[in-house]
């Protein structure tokens, strides 16, 4: 499966990459904002996308809406610091398959990705 990681923090992108190393995921791109992410989605059609919300140029919610138009089968996992319920519900309503609040530690990522990837197998 192909994975695209989208976060404006390079440290966060590499943290996600490091902690998803045990999954059979090919990282096809890392984007630092929503605009970059959309170009990469068009080019690589990733199966799984981790998507931050607070980013420059294009935020994650706007990006998510466009991703769902380009590639509605993509499993999008939102990973954001915005920990209010409304933002989570908004993201799920727009097509995200999962939602995680930062700070995210390795256990959090593992649990969320087990659930995300198993969901499609059932």
């Amino acid at each position: 499966m192909k994975l695209l990681i989208v976060d404006d923090s390079s440290i966060m992108r590499r943290t996600i990459e490091k902690n998803l190393g045990d999954y059979d995921l090919e990282i096809v791109g890392m984007a630092s904002n929503g605009k970059e992410a959309l170009e990469m989605v068009k080019d690589t059609m990733p199966d799984v996308i981790t998507l931050d919300i607070t980013m420059p140029q294009m935020d994650g919610i706007t990006c998510l809406e466009s991703i769902m138009q380009i590639h509605p089968e993509a499993k999008v996992m939102i990973i954001t610091a915005l920990s209010d319920k409304l933002t989570g519900l908004q993201a799920l309503d727009k097509g995200a398959r999962g939602f995680m609040y930062k700070p995210v530690n390795p256990d959090d990522l593992t649990k969320a990705f087990d659930k995300l990837l198993n969901r499609n197998a059932n």
Partner: protein, 155 residues
Amino acid sequence: MQTNKEEFEATCNLFIKSVENYFKHLTDIDSEMSVPYLKDKEGLILKDITGMIGISGNRKGFVYISADRGMYKDLINIFIGLDDPADEDILDMAGEISNVVAGNVRANLGANFMISVPVVFEGMPNQLRLPQDLSIYIIPIKWNGHEAFVVVGLE
């Protein structure tokens, strides 16, 4: 009904809890808070590198976290195993921690507590101008032998 002072202090307490949770959840090393205090007419307290977030919506102001390079380097080492990160990585780390600490406060204050993307700077920039009409609360913290400050300014 809360007075403005009580509301301000309650909001600052949310930031304190957010900082404590950040370090505990990601590093298993507790942070220690010293007694917070209101900023007087002295200048702002800034360490090596600062990540600042603008606040808008139902509250207006800012929050920043300012720490020495060593604290950011230790966090990067824990997260991705880099012993000697590049300057770019250290600045990135400063922005990310301020983003997470500010964003987590929305769990209590809701989506109308709006936050900007982080602005990161080193030392004391000449151009730094903050509104004069803010109450500014300074929260000293220690984590893993490093001293840092969380500074909350709200109308």
